[in-house]
């Protein structure tokens, strides 16, 4: 409880000092990528289950769990899905109560992983495929890496809005005609929105003055970044300010009347990250699962079924999707973002009311 309560007091500085010193010394000693060995499979099967805390859309996470279970019969995956910030809160609470329930953690707010690493809760473990990852998308000390990415996009309902009338940019959304017409997710719940809000707050020409004006547009406030596309599909609001590209693409796959807009100013790119907990109850199953998560097979499932973006060079992009290289994106450094989190939550609740 102490750390949970004081996480934003003096303690992090102390903890960071404690851990960063040895970490920076061991920088060169990040473990080599570990392949799946028969011994690992045998040990994992003996453990019989693995607990996966994640903020990936529940139906995508369940599909991943099922594919893993089909491949490694005898190991069940227990999926605990909530918003990234909610998962963060839960893990902090559990660890402060000495409850070590979680084996593998995934978060759409990579800053959460930075914090777990600082607390010494993560194991240094590099799955085989992460060796092929771009350097910016993996922790130099081998504690976590980006297991997925998506964009926080603008979207609209094609039954309610003609393409010609659709907003093209963030600036367009301040037009009074969109008052009471916009749905938006919450950064205190969603890691995607936290990251996207951080990137927008840093974006030239936008920043907090822009977000403050957006707060006057009587937006409909939902929680998860998976929800705005669903509200568009319902026709509850014609426009979404933010929300996951992958959920929008999945809904478009089911013929929902949704179109995606990559705003002219730039689109927030959100890299989620995953790592193995050091004190999880199923260490071998955890290592086997995270290896699967980063493998071509696991990543291809996230890309094909879940419409996510992947950093595995081995995956095949679905046809008809705008390639990442064609989209102007905003990016964030998780370590810098981690320092801004409280400020973002406070400003957001001031400007948007909840």
């Amino acid at each position: 409880m102490l750390r949970f309560l004081k996480r934003f007091g003096i303690l992090p500085v102390f903890v960071a000092a404690l851990f960063l010193a040895p970490l920076s010394a061991s920088r060169a000693a990040a473990p080599a990528p570990s392949p799946v060995t028969p011994a690992l499979v045998a040990a994992a099967t003996k453990e019989g289950s693995v607990t996966f805390y994640t903020s990936i859309d529940l139906q995508v996470a369940e599909a991943l769990a099922k594919a893993f279970q089909d491949k490694y019969s005898g190991i069940t995956v227990q999926v605990e899905r909530s918003g990234a910030e909610r998962i963060y809160q839960r893990i902090t609470q559990e660890y402060d109560s000495k409850i070590h329930n979680v084996d593998v953690v995934d978060s759409s707010d990579a800053a959460n992983l930075v914090d777990y690493k600082k607390n010494g809760w993560l194991a240094a473990y590099v799955p085989a495929d992460v060796g092929k990852w771009p350097a910016r998308q993996r922790d130099p000390d081998g504690f976590f890496a980006s297991d997925r990415a998506t964009l926080s996009v603008i979207g609209y309902n094609t039954k309610l809005i003609q393409p010609g009338d659709a907003p093209k940019s963030y600036a367009d959304l301040l037009d009074p005609k969109w008052k009471d017409k916009i749905v938006k997710a919450h950064p205190s719940y969603s890691g995607n929105i936290m990251t996207a809000t951080y990137e927008l707050s840093k974006a030239p020409g936008l920043g907090w003055p822009y977000l403050q004006k957006l707060g006057q547009q009587q937006i409909m406030q939902v929680q998860s970044s998976t929800e705005p596309p669903k509200k568009l599909a319902l026709g509850e609001r014609p426009v979404m300010f933010d929300g996951n590209e992958y959920n929008a693409l999945m809904l478009i796959d089911t013929q929902a009347p949704i179109a995606i807009v990559y705003p002219t100013e730039g689109t927030p790119l959100v890299s989620g990250a995953a790592g193995v907990m050091k004190d999880g109850p199923h260490p071998n199953a955890a290592r086997l699962f995270i290896n699967y998560l980063f493998s071509v097979e696991g990543q291809q499932l996230l890309v094909t079924t879940g419409e996510l973006r992947s950093f595995n060079p081995g995956i095949t992009e679905p046809a008809g999707r705008v390639p990442l290289s064609k989209i102007k994106v905003f990016t964030a450094d998780p370590a810098d973002q981690e320092k801004a989190v409280d400020d973002i939550k406070q400003k957001y609740s001031e400007y948007f009311g909840t």
Binding site: L5, Q78, E80, E94, K98, I99, M220, S224, L234, K345
Partner: protein
């Protein structure tokens, strides 16, 4: 407590005293421990030093004052609306020849079973400003434009409406029971003395039921004030906070439990004052109506008003039950809830998904096993405390009664945190186990359970128990052999109340569940935050069906048929 037994009576040592004493201690632990932590946090700063600064913040910062004022206004509105609907309905069902009145009673009980957060989600499907089915229907029928809406559920009025839908059954149940208990001879006496139907209603029925009416209004008010589920579903999209959602937001990181505790204490104070006022009002009159002798009442013939009365009852049922359930059933068969239900769009996807989803089975198992345990433990505890308090046979009875009713003032989320703080440290580390949920549910439901049983006991004349005592039975024996059977219907009703309450509970649960102790309510809440209306509908419908089955079974316990147990003996 100390008992000085004269030596002559030592042979007949009253075993009930230590048993009851132990239960008293248990009650202290249940209520005082989390409250103690709450008070500690309210008056300390982050460093653990004493401060009143939390209260200064609460009462000076508009971010707290606004939710406080809004919550008060909303709660008063919910109480008034609940009474306005429940009072006539209870009278119609209990005292008149309105058609299908038994069915109406069953349906009201059913709308009580509906968790408010589920009702709120159903009303989202019905009355969201643009995608809501009722708004779509309105636009279609009257040729209105896309954004021309009749209803907007994401408003304060919408919130009051939904909360009243699921608070009015409390008032109804209390009133209907009270009206039924009025002995027919009192009304006969009124008629004989020349009082017409309305005079009898005003001069006999109303005063006799006023305590229940007030108690009901009070419960509706408190329900609205301390509820988290419906506001979390409806207020946040609208961009405003009530006090419970505000307190909940204080536990998100960075957590501020000190402020949350300070924000909760005024709620506690308000409730204690209200309960005291109610006790004072009731204490001035005698309401003993069930004695050894009294007569049955005859239903009042409504004549040509029968069907008007039925139309009124049906309208209430449509808003609280029929429309929301229809909306959930419709949404459960669609990928997108606002689509028309056509052959083309019809799908069993949601059912298949929930069926193959391992979490849902685990959640159902947890929910029902913890619900059954809570109901059994809670009803037993409430019965003991109520019998002690009602008969004043015990020195600390008033204290116990106050303890038993005090949790009503603790918002579930704050009790959740109190329990969290109490049971995440030695000697009892219960966080992460089902036991902490059991504690939470028993504590949360205790006030309502206690009040129900106390009301039943107050209307039971002590002469029956005194007779038993005179013949040598000790207190415990009297409770088991005389009191409990006489108020058996109330005990079963209380059991059902607690069971349903545990199923509906969300706000304490949200702080206390871990991945291993997930409940259906949390699953539904999680899915609501990601907007999966179809999956929620399936979960909600299954939850309702199983709950109805359990409650139905409980009411079929031999000899305890609805109303059968407390019918006064015909003279």
């Amino acid at each position: 407590m100390s008992v000085t037994a004269p030596s002559a009576r030592a042979r007949h040592f009253d075993l009930s005293v230590p048993v009851l004493g132990a239960l008293g201690l248990l009650l202290c632990a249940l209520v005082l421990l989390p409250l103690g932590w709450l008070a500690y946090y309210a008056f300390t700063d982050k460093a653990g030093d004493f401060t009143a600064g939390n209260f200064v913040t609460i009462f000076s910062n508009p971010a707290f004052l606004e939710p406080f004022l809004r919550t008060s206004a909303i709660s008063v509105a919910v109480a008034l609306a609940s009474v306005a609907v429940a009072a006539p309905l209870a009278w119609l069902v209990a005292r008149t020849d309105m058609p299908f009145r038994r069915w109406i009673r069953v349906l009201v009980t059913a709308s009580f079973v509906t968790p408010p957060f589920l009702g709120a989600i159903a009303w989202e499907i019905l009355a969201a400003p643009n995608a809501g089915l009722l708004n779509q229907l309105y636009q279609h029928l009257f040729g209105r434009g896309t954004y021309d809406n009749l209803f907007n559920i994401y408003t304060e009025t919408g919130l009051v409406f939904v909360m009243a839908c699921y608070a009015f059954p409390y008032v109804f149940v209390l009133l209907a029971n009270a009206i039924e208990r009025i002995p027919g001879d009192l009304e006969d006496a009124s008629s004989i003395l020349g009082g017409g139907r309305w005079v009898t209603l005003r001069r006999v029925v109303l005063p006799m039921t006023l305590p229940s009416l007030l108690a009901g209004a009070l419960i509706a008010f408190l329900q609205a004030m301390t509820q988290f589920g419906a506001p979390a579903v409806l207020a946040l999209p609208a961009g405003f906070h009530v006090i419970t959602t505000k307190i909940w937001s204080l536990f998100q990181s960075p957590p501020q439990p000190q402020l949350a505790a300070a924000a909760a204490l005024p709620l506690l104070l308000v409730t204690v004052l209200l309960l005291q006022a109610q006790r004072w009002l009731l204490g001035r009159r005698g309401y003993t109506v069930i004695g050894g002798k009294s007569g049955m009442a005859r239903p009042i013939a409504l004549g040509s008003w029968r069907w008007a009365a039925f139309a009124f009852a049906l309208a209430v049922m449509a808003l609280t039950m029929l429309l929301p359930y229809a909306a959930l059933i419709k949404a459960s068969f669609l990928r997108t809830a606002s689509d028309p239900l056509t052959f083309e769009k019809f799908t069993l996807y949601n059912y298949q998904w929930i069926y193959s989803f391992p979490e849902s089975r685990r959640a159902f198992f947890n929910t029902f096993s913890i619900g059954l345990m809570s109901a059994t433990c809670g009803a037993a505890l409430a019965l003991v405390v109520a019998s002690l308090a009602a008969r004043r046979g015990f020195a600390g009875a008033r204290v116990l009664a106050a303890l038993a009713t005090s949790p009503v003032a603790i918002p579930g989320i704050v009790l959740g945190v109190g329990l969290f703080l109490s049971y995440t440290r030695p000697p009892l580390v219960l966080y992460g186990t089902p036991w902490i949920l059991l504690l939470a549910f028993v504590t949360i439901e205790l006030p309502a359970a206690y009040q129900q049983l106390e009301a039943a006991l107050l209307s039971l004349h002590p002469e029956l128990e005194e007779a038993s005592r005179i013949f040598g039975a000790n207190r415990l024996k009297v409770l088991v052999q005389i009191t409990a059977p006489l108020i058996a219907t109330s005990v079963v009703a209380t059991w059902c109340f607690i069971f349903i309450g545990a199923i509906r509970e969300l706000s304490a649960t949200i702080m206390l569940t871990t991945a291993n102790t997930k409940l259906v309510s949390i699953l539904i809440y999680d899915l609501n935050e990601s907007g999966d209306l179809g999956l929620i509908s399936v979960l909600g419908l299954v939850l309702l069906v199983v709950t109805f089955a359990v409650v139905g079974l409980a009411n079929r316990v031999p000899g305890l048929r609805q109303g059968g147990g407390v019918r006064p003996v015909r003279y």
